[in-house]
């Protein structure tokens, strides 16, 4: 790079006498911040377009006239800027005084008090006293913008962060400014609450206490809170977060800005879905079934009883009479320990972390993967069979950003119209069960228009009333050298569980039973003889009386399996149920042994998200009762069944997985502790992306920059040999320092990665690779009087998180059948009315509404995971579910 070329890409800037290099065109406020100079601000947010409204960041530029805002001024070469001279100080004083004249100064009772940017910046940059003696402006307050967010218009400083977030980021422009002058206020529209799945973010980024969360309001003071960095596991996106507790109760989750994943955002289900951990009806002690009642017992008694049931079943009817369902709720360590117990000790392969709501493990574990950040540079994004906002909401934000802001073409092949649909360049809505229309492949190539990036296909399961075969067939049609797949399966840590072997036919590390047989036989002493059953197969076998013991690991097939009839038949028939859960539910209320487990917030370990990124969870509160970590229960059971499973700490389990799983090679506990952004599997292919943290997360900084409202970031350093090293580290980056425990020398990221890989480098079984088949089963023809059922998962379903979190329980979706207006008219429904629906499995009377977003020929009936709704209509063995609809008079 010659001197002239480098001039084009960077600018030499002097701010308050400090000279540094910054990327040319970067905003002054950001360039200064990256180099340690904090220019005060309220309206500017790094993840949103600047507006220059609050005027707090006005600076003086040598040779320029006036006072430009640093948030709208790009740096230019040779720029000399003053942010602290007398002239600028006078302006800062003035702006802060203006902001405070009508501010109520009710800090002692304000949620923001103690972590308030207005407080902090007044202290750092503002005048000591107000000269305002007039009456302040008054508004009725607080007013609810929605069930989750309340607005105090007197505290509002009109920075437009919330309104910009709603429009730009969330795509829910439901709040905006009304009136003018000093009556300017933020409001929702008449009769239209701020019902956005992302509304909680506005509370986090509000620079004052104007927006408060109905859940957190008056619950704690910031200085009482203790914080742990963790990831949200409500869905499989694993947004980074900072979980905060007061008096051993989780009270708040804040989004942390992890550039590859969530950009600081959280969805409301994740943000507020923390209270269920402390729900009154949690099971806090082990129980043994005794007739219709339970008897509280000690852990040794419960574990002995469980082990005895398992041993007896294996001895009397063989390993295949034991089955395990679930495991997607826990950590990778939990999943690995369960896989070891089931496959290595019990030797059953009847194990499935999915409940017929996902995609075949053969596809998921072997597909060519995209990373979430590939969306930004993709040639095109194809949505295959899923409404992202209902399933992986923050992924919908990332897709929205890529499509709306970065211009990536969107191809929408979801079964129903959804919020991203208006942005799609190509739309195809084949009937459930039918293949991808032939023209789509050609059109994808057309809309790419020479964009270099890969086609990223987001594959989900948007319809639980149709088998996954059509989706996998469509994926096969799109497969090619320049196609990458991203799963949109929602279930918590389902990808980590599958990776760790909780799928029939697989062993930990994305290897098949056959490929890993030798290695795992030597590690575990043996593996199952042949491929076992998936969830549907297990339940069918149970209903036939072929399953003696069913282990339910944090799952409730009776309400959460698409085919409720089959699930109930199986649960009625199976002689012994061992429940590993935190709550009783329809499936576990008659369990013979109940082993209470820790939940998110109470446990540490690692989890793996949709792109294969392994991140560390941290424990924040002590577990309720004597609840035990899953992995420890599995290890205890294994020991009782004669295995030599010498795993004492969760880190040892992480390291055991790193040592034995092909995909996990090198992903040691030490590395996951130090890798700021986590580690993408397999590490050897993604070593350049490892960023070592150089400082632990802090929520409030000492320099007046309260960070809970600005993007919360953890400082880090990328490997010296990485292609990203120069752009990411910045000129002002500190030299690397060892952090945390001294188990790893954090002075050179590249060396650490090499060291981690070397520690586990031994011949590993080959990872499974998916081979796209060409066969597509033709679905049965739909007769003219039937509608094809689309049972899509919804965000606020009847699952435990929503039910046991009071603020979310109110939002729970009801059971309503949505029909295209033409189809609705045919069955006598004008706008809304009752109809009788009949499938091959059964019939119901349900409320139907006419909905233009539903294509003709299909019926939308949301899957609410509570046993009601479409679950009693679906037969999982059928490729599709057709409904007869009759009017009820």
């Amino acid at each position: 790079v010659t001197a002239t070329e480098s001039k084009k890409t960077t600018a030499t800037v002097t701010v308050d006498g400090v000279t540094f290099e910054a990327p040319a065109g970067e905003l002054l406020i950001k360039a200064a911040q990256e180099n340690g100079i904090y220019i005060p601000r309220f309206c500017w947010h790094e993840r949103m377009e600047p507006v220059g409204m609050c005027r707090m960041c006005l600076v003086q530029v040598e040779g320029g006239r006036g006072f430009p805002p640093a948030c709208t001024t790009p740096v230019t070469d040779g720029m000399v800027v003053y942010t602290q001279n007398d002239t600028v100080k006078k302006i800062q004083d003035g702006v802060l005084e203006f902001l405070l004249i009508n501010h109520p100064l009710d800090c002692p009772v304000c949620d923001r008090g103690g972590e308030c940017p207005l407080q902090d910046q007044t202290l750092s940059f503002g005048p000591g006293e107000s000269r305002f003696v007039e009456e302040k402006r008054h508004f009725a307050k607080p007013i609810p913008l929605s069930d989750l967010v309340l607005l105090d218009r007197e505290r509002c400083i009109q920075c437009a962060r919330c309104t910009r977030f709603a429009e730009e980021i969330a795509g829910d422009p439901l709040i905006d400014f009304v009136d003018r002058g000093d009556r300017t206020q933020v409001l929702n529209f008449d009769e239209q609450p701020f019902d956005s799945y992302f509304s909680g973010n506005t509370v986090q980024i509000c620079p004052v206490g104007a927006l408060t969360a109905s859940q957190y309001r008056f619950r704690a003071r910031p200085w009482d809170l203790t914080t742990a960095e963790t990831s949200c596991t409500t869905c499989s996106m694993h947004c980074r977060g900072a979980v905060q507790a007061s008096s051993n109760r989780l009270v708040r989750l804040l989004g942390v800005d992890l550039d590859p994943v969530n950009h600081g955002w959280l969805c409301d289900k994740g943000r507020f879905g923390i209270e269920w951990v402390h729900a009154d009806d949690r099971v806090r002690e082990p129980q043994l079934g005794a007739g219709d009642e339970w008897k509280q017992v000690s852990w040794p008694e419960a574990l002995d009883a469980a082990a005895e049931k398992l041993r007896a079943a294996k001895d009397s009817r063989g390993a295949n009479s034991i089955a395990m369902l679930g495991g997607a709720r826990g950590t990778n360590e939990d999943a690995f320990a369960w896989a070891m117990l089931a496959k290595g000790v019990l030797r059953t392969d009847n194990v499935d972390a999915q409940l017929a709501d996902g995609l075949p493990a053969e596809f998921l574990l072997g597909m060519p993967r995209a990373e979430i950040s590939d969306l930004d540079t993709a040639g095109a994004i194809v949505l295959l069979g899923c409404d992202l906002e209902e399933e992986v909401p923050v992924l919908a934000l990332r897709v929205r950003r890529a499509v709306v802001q970065l211009g990536v073409p969107l191809v929408d092949c979801a079964p129903l119209e959804h919020k991203l649909s208006p942005h799609a360049r190509v739309v195809a809505r084949p009937l459930p069960g039918e293949g991808l229309p032939a023209h789509v492949v050609g059109e994808i190539n057309d809309v790419r228009e020479g964009r270099d990036g890969p086609v990223v296909v987001i594959v989900g399961r948007g319809n639980l009333a149709a088998s996954a075969d059509a989706t996998v067939a469509a994926a096969a049609r799109l497969a090619g050298p320049n196609t990458r797949f991203l799963s949109a399966l929602r279930r918590s840590n389902v990808h980590g569980a599958l990776d760790a072997g909780l799928a029939p036919g697989f062993l930990p590390g994305r290897v098949t039973l056959e490929a890993g047989r030798e290695a795992f036989t030597s590690a575990w002493g043996g593996v199952p003889k042949e491929r076992g059953l998936d969830a549907a197969g297990i339940l069918r076998a149970a209903a036939n009386g072929d399953i003696e013991v069913l282990i339910l690991v944090g799952c409730d097939p009776a309400t959460d399996f698409p085919d409720a009839t089959l699930a109930r038949a199986a649960l009625d028939k199976v002689p012994t149920i061992i429940a590993v859960d935190a709550f009783t539910n329809t499936s576990t209320k008659n369990a013979d042994v109940f082993l209470p487990v820790t939940l998110w917030g109470e446990t540490s370990g690692t989890v793996t998200n949709i792109e294969g990124r392994v991140q560390r969870l941290n424990r924040k509160v002590a577990p309720e009762g004597t609840a035990m970590d899953d992995w420890r229960i599995a290890v205890e059971l294994a020991a009782r069944l004669g295995a030599n499973a010498d795993l004492v700490t969760v880190d040892e389990v992480t390291d055991a997985l790193a040592a034995s799983g092909s995909a996990h090679a090198g992903v040691t506990a030490a590395l996951t502790r130090h890798a700021r952004d986590g580690v993408v599997l397999p590490l050897a292919d993604h070593r350049d992306e490892v960023v070592l943290r150089t400082r632990e997360l802090t929520i409030t900084a000492g320099d007046g920059s309260g960070t809970s409202w600005d993007p919360i970031k953890v400082e880090g350093q990328v490997p010296a040999d990485s292609t990203n090293a120069v752009s990411q580290s910045g000129a002002g980056a500190e030299p690397l320092k060892p952090v945390g425990s001294s188990d790893i020398d954090a002075s050179d990221a590249a060396a650490i990665v090499a060291q981690s890989l070397a520690a586990t480098e031994q011949p590993m079984p080959a990872r499974h690779v998916w081979s796209p088949g060409s066969a597509t089963a033709d679905p049965p023809a739909r007769d003219a009087y039937a509608l094809r059922l689309v049972a899509s998962p919804v965000l606020y379903d009847g699952g435990r998180t929503v039910r046991s979190t009071p603020v979310l329980a109110r939002l729970r979706a009801g059971a309503t059948l949505h029909l295209n207006p033409v189809d609705a008219t045919r069955v006598g429904v004008d706008q809304i009315g009752e109809v009788k629906i009949t499938s091959a499995r059964g019939s119901q009377v349900v409320e139907a509404v006419a909905d233009t977003r539903v294509p003709a020929g299909v019926a939308r009936y949301d899957f609410t995971a509570d046993g009601a709704g479409p679950a009693s209509l679906i037969d999982v063995t059928a490729p599709v579910t057709d409904l007869r609809i009759e009017s009820v008079r």
């Binding site: 006239r65 702006v95 203006f98 009508n102 002058g181 000093d182 009556r183």
Partner: protein
Amino acid sequence: MKMGGAEYAKLGVNRSTGTRIFSVSGHVNKPGNYEVELGMTFRDLLFGLAGGVRENRAIKFFIPGGASSQWLVGIDEHLDAPLDMDFVQQTFWVMLGSGAIMVFDETVDPVRVAWRLAKFFAHESCGKCTPCREGTGWIEKVLYRMSHGLGRPDDLDLLFDVGDNISPGVTNAPFTQTTICPLGPSAVSPVASLHKYFKDEIQAQYAGVVA
């Protein structure tokens, strides 16, 4: 149009060429719209064409170019100044602006006029940027108090400093602004004018009042 551009440009003075229509209102005998050649003096316009002040009173002050402009007063230096945009700006820091001239005679309370103007600007503020949204409202409230007999001795200095926070260096052209658009600085013009011409008169009301 009939004269052609070059011919038309020969009218006027300096860079202020051609003619302009001034809309004279207030306490003059013949308010109305007058098209005059630029370069004419205020005196000729106000006392000649507009017929002088009602009942032959003196001009106390006048707004030379719309509500956004700072004011001039009834002294010879101001009245004999030419209608020359550059001249008035460079000499008195006022503008001919929209050409809307308002004349106020000696019976008028300048504080009350300033309040009425401030109320206009506070209402006009769009509310987007802080200094204008909050500042125009603050100025209006203080001037309301002052014009309704509830003023305080340091109100004028307070107003002047609030104005300076909206429009730093407001009395020293070229002024600057902390706002996005010039509406905020416009609202400061009446305040700056009060401070410049009527400080003693206003302060006299508070003689004996303890701050």
